[in-house]
């Protein structure tokens, strides 16, 4: 514990230097601005703004990216409450009661509760991250290729299981993403695979053009032609303070959402989306007035917003400690870290303590910055939503092109974004989730390398994947998830995901 505190002091000594503080601040502001834009969530936001960090050293770049991530998450809730448009998928539940509160003239209070909930959840979950990540990293030093193979496969299976729709569709999307990740030079044999003479594809298809295409461009394609732009409710500054009744109604949901969000966040998958859905369901179940949900219940804003932010920190645990991204957003963060020459994993904490602890400390700082900054400036952020959409979306398209091109200075990436945008648009229309594709693209080379190294270790015997205890246990959990996920196909019943989706639809109708 003393060592942890010493390390944290080291982190703060880095995070509070004016240079680092400035980039944490800039990341939060820019992230919020991007998060407020309809359709541009944290995933596309980080991908688009990655080039802006190229001129910085690794610590400042990572701190700025973390700020963008937090800011985009918070910005998403602003759009949900004031426009009933989820800036990102995790804000769907906030839309329901947040917008209902806004229509009752409590928009300011809803924003304040979302901000305070996010702050509490963010701060508490960073403490948990700080305590959990180092021991997990020490444990992960025992991992060899078979354990990594099992862990990566489990990560994909959990993502498929946790996805909102059917597991079969999610598995198909994961397989599609993994196949996309096969493009490029085979690391073991040096063969070019599926590159068709395009030299730039030698390194494979990048996660940034895939993420921007599937999440940024696809959203623009689906919404640019909409006939009626949504209206914005503008809160007054004096309305920002919630009443005593609203504070007391939000205290327990914030606490529960924080714990629930962090625990769900550690599990691979679209953590913050599931966390906000589960938190909403729990709050409605525990509420003395469940009939208020859907009509402006304070707990319906406080719980999901806290859970969603807490899950964000939870998702960093496996990424920082194991080097394994647990969802599409950590996957992009991982790629961003690699661009800056940082390799997250068990050795990061030992070899680059200033970076790891500076990052942790900057998350505390980022939470404070967001709280201090966002409430007074909410009017400024809202004005961005007043820009007519027919003017706004061409600007977003330009930033998509710029962001994708700038990562490698390659127009091939712009073509990849275009193809992924069209694919994402069609898949969205056909009701398929695209998050497993992003994760598949980044995990494919890792899974293949781990499998082939495992086979090299065992003289070609697959038994090594099940006889080593950790690998065997991880694969057994994966097998159970597949069986659980496919059960509704056999029994023709509704599983928990279908029930949650149904509950969400019912609430939205109210």
């Amino acid at each position: 514990m003393v060592e942890t505190l010493q390390n944290l002091a080291l982190g703060f000594s880095i995070a509070l230097t004016p240079g680092v503080l400035f980039y944490a601040f800039a990341g939060c502001v820019v992230g919020t601005l991007v998060g407020v834009l309809p359709g541009i969530g944290p995933l596309a936001g980080i991908s688009l703004l990655l080039p802006a960090t190229f001129g910085l050293d690794a610590t400042r770049a990572i701190v700025m990216l973390a700020g963008i991530y937090y800011g985009a998450m918070y910005g998403g809730s602003t759009t949900s409450i004031l426009m009933r448009i989820p800036g990102e998928a995790a804000s769907v539940m906030t839309c329901i009661d947040g917008y209902a509160m806004a229509r009752k003239g409590r928009a300011g209070a809803a924003l304040a509760i979302a901000a305070v909930g996010s702050y509490v959840a963010g701060t508490v979950s960073v403490v948990a991250l700080m305590v959990l990540a180092p021991p997990l990293a020490s444990f992960a030093l025992r991992f060899g290729p078979p354990e990594y193979f099992a862990l990566l496969v489990l990560g994909l299976l959990v993502l498929a299981y946790m996805s909102g729709g059917s597991m079969l569709k999610a598995l198909a999307m994961a397989a599609l993403g993994l196949l996309g990740g096969m493009i490029g030079i085979d690391q073991m044999s040096g063969y070019f695979r599926f590159a068709y003479g395009v030299v730039e594809l030698g390194d494979g298809i990048g996660v940034v053009p895939v993420a921007v295409g599937l999440f940024g461009l696809a959203e623009i394609l689906a919404t640019a032609g909409l006939a009626t732009p949504p209206s914005v409710i503008k809160p007054k500054l004096r309305e920002l303070l919630p009443s005593r009744r609203e504070w007391s109604a939000s205290a327990w949901p914030i606490g529960r959402g924080t714990v629930l969000g962090f625990l769900i966040g550690i599990i691979p998958g679209s953590a913050h989306i599931i966390a906000s859905f589960v938190s909403y369901a729990v709050e409605r179940r525990l509420s003395a007035h469940p009939e208020e949900f859907g009509r402006g219940a304070v707990a319906g804003v406080a719980g999901p917003e806290s859970a969603n932010n807490s899950a964000t920190s939870g998702a960093f645990v496996p990424m920082l400690a194991l080097g394994v991204p647990s969802g599409p957003i950590p996957a992009v963060m991982l790629a961003a870290m690699m661009v800056h020459g940082v390799s997250p994993g068990p050795l990061l904490i030992k070899q680059q303590p200033e970076l790891f602890w500076g990052f942790i400390a900057s998350m505390y700082v980022g939470n404070v910055v967001l709280l201090v900054l966002n409430l007074p400036l909410v009017g400024v952020f809202v004005n961005l939503l007043r820009v007519p959409y027919p003017v706004l979306y061409p600007s977003i398209v330009v930033f998509c092109i710029l962001g994708v091109y700038a990562v490698n200075g390659s127009v091939v990436d712009v073509w990849i974004m275009l193809v992924m945008g069209a694919l994402g648009y069609v898949l969205r229309k056909l009701d398929f989730e695209t998050a497993p594709i992003v994760l598949g693209v980044i995990l494919a080379p890792m899974i293949e390398m781990a499998l082939r190294q495992s086979l090299a270790m065992s003289d070609g015997h697959y038994g090594i994947l099940v006889t080593r205890p950790i690998a065997g246990a991880l694969l057994a959990v994966g097998a159970v998830l597949v069986l659980l996920g496919l059960r509704p196909l056999v029994t023709r019943s509704l599983d928990w995901r279908a029930k949650l989706a149904l509950a969400g639809t019912k609430e939205e109708r109210l």
Binding site: P51, A52, F54, G55, L168, K169, L171, A172, A175, L176, L179, M182, D186, S189, Y191, R193, F194, L217, I220, L221, A222, T223, A224, G225, L226, P390, V391, Y393, P394, S395, V397, V398, F399, I401, L402, Y405, A406, G409, V411, V414, W415, L418, G421, A422, Y425, L427, K429, L430, D431, F432, A444, I447, E448, L451, R452, L455, D459, G460, H461, L489
Partner: protein, 147 residues
């Protein structure tokens, strides 16, 4: 009945078959010593299985004909702009390409006034170049005459 899941499943299965066909150009290796084609074939088989399963169990999904494609004209126009940008970026340079792309989206697709279109397109193209290339030192392509 033609449902969204069935159509998607059929397309995915077809794609899987194409991958298997294309993988024949690479050494497959053996079960104990996989070659570069091994993993793509395994994954394509998984995709094929998922696609076929979707075709079989996808009868309860929404009807394909019920999917609303009303915004397709905008979608095609935006994709065309992205294709133009990909083709022109390194030939015309960032500023000229983005100015033309924005002018098309605002002036032709959204039918905004000429003065607004020109001013907005120039301001965003030059402003974003100044921010990223000049201030943040992200190298963006120059076209003829260094523009």
């Amino acid at each position: 009945m033609l449902t969204t899941d069935r159509v998607a499943g059929a397309v995915l299965a077809l794609l899987a078959l194409v991958v298997v066909w294309e993988s024949r150009k690479l050494p497959l290796g053996s079960l104990s010593n996989p070659g570069p084609a091994y993993m793509p074939v395994v994954l394509a088989t998984l995709l094929l299985a998922c696609g076929v399963a979707l075709v079989i169990v996808g009868g309860r999904a929404g009807r394909l004909a019920a999917v609303d494609w009303s915004e397709w004209r905008h979608a095609v126009a935006i994709l065309a702009v992205c294709a133009f940008a990909a083709g022109a970026l390194e030939r015309l340079g960032y500023r000229a390409t983005i100015t033309l792309a924005l002018a098309f989206m605002l002036g032709v697709v959204e039918k905004r006034g000429v003065v607004f279109t020109v001013l907005f397109a120039l301001a965003l193209a030059l402003g974003s170049f100044l921010l990223f290339d000049t201030l943040l030192r992200v190298v963006l392509p120059r076209g003829p005459l260094g523009l």
